[in-house]
């Protein structure tokens, strides 16, 4: 079967635009609601779905994703149910790449071999496992690659040029660049620095580079998307769900619609990213030039 991630980036290259990568928490606040959110994502313009696997101790996540994970666990989500969610989603969508993101322990307890087989059968395209650096590749990365799943590695501002080749060695699908040292949901501060970091990684690999951590608005998506092959949005989506939950945990509006509204705006942002960058460079070259025509 064709690799959905490679096929997507091939298509986006011809469209000259970056991917919108959307993270949501599987099972937040319950299975059915969460599945409706998942189905809404590609319809609203998401190109890749990151399906969050809840974990009791998410050490790299900020308060929003921590709370989402606890809501999901309270709602009865398990790794088995998350795989079931992916399988159900696949029945209606065979094109959108789905990447599972989370921490290693639930997979370790599920059993690595069984997990890789079940994930593949459920139509999963790749894995992002926060607490498995290249030093631990034998745990899951190598079995996953062997089983036909992409293993998408995080590169960070602390990953220097000496270390990058090690990080990239067994990476496939795309590289996830973490825009800052910090936890998910922190404020994004230095966009030009992110652009330089993306260029640095691209000098080491032909893989697409997607940037995440701290991207919340369409404007940020537009700015980051000028340099990156993809823009990852997570906390903002998780917050869109949280915002329509009452104090009793019941929904006060449709979470799928709330997420779709946000994602439509972000999708517009990434679609304008390259145009905005071209415009900026055109302005830079023609400081006295007249204003180019409005794009929208």
């Amino acid at each position: 079967m064709a690799n959905r991630i490679d096929a997507l980036f091939e298509k986006l290259r011809s469209e000259n635009r970056p991917a919108l990568v959307t993270y949501f928490m599987g099972g937040d606040p319950d299975y059915d609601t969460s599945l409706s959110v998942m189905k809404a994502l590609p319809k609203a313009g998401a190109d890749i779905i990151e399906l969050g696997m809840p974990f009791s101790d998410p050490m790299a996540d900020g308060p929003a994703i921590q709370a989402a994970g606890l809501r999901a666990l309270k709602g009865g989500q398990t790794l088995k149910r998350t795989l079931e969610m992916a399988r159900t989603f696949r029945e209606g969508d065979d094109a959108t790449p789905v990447v599972m993101m989370g921490y290693y322990n639930p997979i370790y307890i599920y059993g690595v071999e069984r997990f890789v087989a079940d994930a593949k059968a459920a139509g999963i395209d790749g894995l992002i496992i926060v607490d498995l650096p290249p030093e631990m590749d034998e745990e899951l990365c190598l079995p996953a690659l062997k089983g036909g799943l992409n293993f998408i590695r995080l590169a960070t501002p602390t990953t220097d040029d000496k270390r990058l080749p090690k990080v990239l060695e067994n990476t496939s699908g795309f590289v996830y660049y973490v825009s800052m040292t910090g936890i998910t949901g922190s404020a994004l501060t230095d966009v030009p620095k992110v652009g330089a970091a993306v260029a640095r990684i691209k000098s080491h690999t032909d893989l697409p580079v997607c940037v995440g951590f701290g991207v919340k608005t369409a404007d940020q998506a537009r700015a980051i998307g000028a340099a990156a092959d993809g823009v990852v949005v997570g906390t903002a989506i998780v917050n869109a769900v949280a915002n329509v939950l009452g104090p009793d945990g019941k929904t006060t509006a449709d979470p799928a619609e709330a997420v779709a509204t946000l994602v439509r705006g972000l999708a517009d942002g990434v679609r304008e990213a390259r145009l905005a960058a071209a415009e900026q460079s055109w302005r830079g070259n023609n400081p006295s030039g007249s204003r180019p025509e409005e794009r929208r």
Partner: protein, 406 residues
């Protein structure tokens, strides 16, 4: 002749990957990976540097008050009517527990690495106090993460940390105990990678922490060995120590691991009993898993979600254990047993009245196991128990449990 193959030595771990058998390792986010590799390089250099050891020994002697005495508990021995009981009295250290041994070692490492800010997690507050103490001594700012539940039940230590100039940040996620404090400390570290040194308080976490904490705490066992040879002219028959994360136990055990005649018992928090979830006996009732940078025995459900656990003792209230203990359990070299809250409380009172020593609730667990074992052993046998902390911090919560006014 069908016994499983035993290693030639139990003291060679961890291997180059930071593993003790299948336990240990480096399960951390990429952001932290370069930092722990840097720590490992500095630690390897420090180990070989005589000046590092000399400074640590000097501080141990004049600041901590080492060596700590090996005390023959004559009245307790008489009361129990069996083996002779000795206490390794690390509760007499500056700051009131064994934690200072590790904190002094690590702050010297932090200084070598040019770090200017210290963060730490704490359960009972003993490690928090020791961290705040060495930070004050070396003039570095210090932030201590502490579960909100623990902030409440260990109030004297919270005040002590604040007096020492540390900032105590209560953590209310989860049950608000040590596990949650460690998560929050890791979140701080991943955010402040340039200037911050994470001073882990127990022999757990990603490699090289389990090794370096063990080595800094091994002074306990090294001294105990010499002192025992002086007092009895031979090695003890049994060592007993409480295990939460397991740093005081590994510190006592490690120098004796290859002395096959010395039996070792690690005592876990049995809480309100092992039937439900209200205990912290990860080795007795848990299963191997991955948390906080290492693979080790954990309390978890069938989906791999970590449980919160319970213990009367904040210092033992952790659902994991240092990876070397997991390995020592599986290799059969050390036996691990649970002690209930109520048994620890009884031991706490007995020691206070018989020997005039108020133990912390953590070593009170070890003592409860000694109380069970000593009477069954001959009078010619010798037990060394690590009295790793003093109980001043616990008197208010003990009073509450006993229905007394403090």
């Amino acid at each position: 002749m069908n016994q499983p193959a035993e290693p030639n030595s139990f003291r060679t771990g961890p291997d180059e990957q930071g593993m003790f058998g299948i336990f240990g390792g480096r399960f951390v986010a990429e952001t932290l990976m370069p930092l722990i590799l840097d720590l490992e390089a500095h630690w390897d250099a420090a180990k070989k540097d005589p000046a590092f050891k000399a400074e640590l020994d000097q501080l141990g002697k004049h600041y901590t008050g080492r060596p700590s005495p090996l005390y023959f508990a004559e009245r307790l021995t008489e009361h129990l009517g069996g083996a002779k009981i000795y206490f390794k009295r690390d509760e007499l250290n500056h700051t009131g527990s064994h934690k200072i041994n590790n904190c002094l070692g690590q702050i010297l490492l932090a200084r070598r690495m040019g770090k200017t800010r210290i963060i730490a997690e704490t359960g009972a507050g003993q490690h928090g106090v020791a961290s705040a103490t060495v930070a004050a001594r070396f003039g570095l700012p210090c932030v201590v993460y502490m579960g909100a539940t623990d902030v409440e039940r260990q109030a004297p230590n919270v005040f002590r940390m604040k007096l020492l100039g540390a900032e105590v940040k209560p953590v209310s996620s989860g049950h608000g105990t040590l596990k949650d404090a460690m998560n929050e400390a890791l979140r701080d570290w991943v955010t402040n990678v340039d200037d911050t040194y994470y001073l882990i308080g127990t022999a757990a976490g990603p490699h090289p922490y389990p090794e370096l904490v063990r080595d800094f705490q091994s002074v306990i066992g090294q001294e105990a060995k010499e002192q025992m040879l002086e007092a009895e002219g031979r090695l003890p028959d049994m060592l007993v120590a409480a295990v939460g994360g397991g740093s005081n136990a590994i510190g006592l055990f490690h120098p004796f691991l290859d002395d096959r005649g010395v039996q070792m018992v690690g005592v876990e928090a049995g809480g309100r009993g092992l039937e439900g979830d209200e205990h912290c006996a990860s080795l007795t009732a848990g299963a191997p898993g991955v948390l906080h940078g290492n693979r080790t025995y954990l309390l978890q459900n069938e989906d791999g979600q970590i449980k919160d656990g319970h213990s009367i003792s904040a210092g033992l209230d952790y659902p994991g254990i240092g990876p070397e203990h997991s390995w020592l359990k599986e290799s059969g070299r050390v036996e691990y047993v649970p002690i209930m809250d109520t048994e620890a409380l009884e031991a706490f009172q007995l020691l206070t009245r018989l020997e005039g020593i108020i133990p912390a609730l953590e070593p009170a667990h070890a003592l409860a196991e000694v109380i069970k074992r000593a009477p069954k052993m001959g009078r010619d046998k010798v037990i060394v128990m690590n009295l790793c902390g003093r109980g001043d911090k616990d008197i208010f919560s003990v009073a509450k449990h006993l229905g007394m006014e403090a």
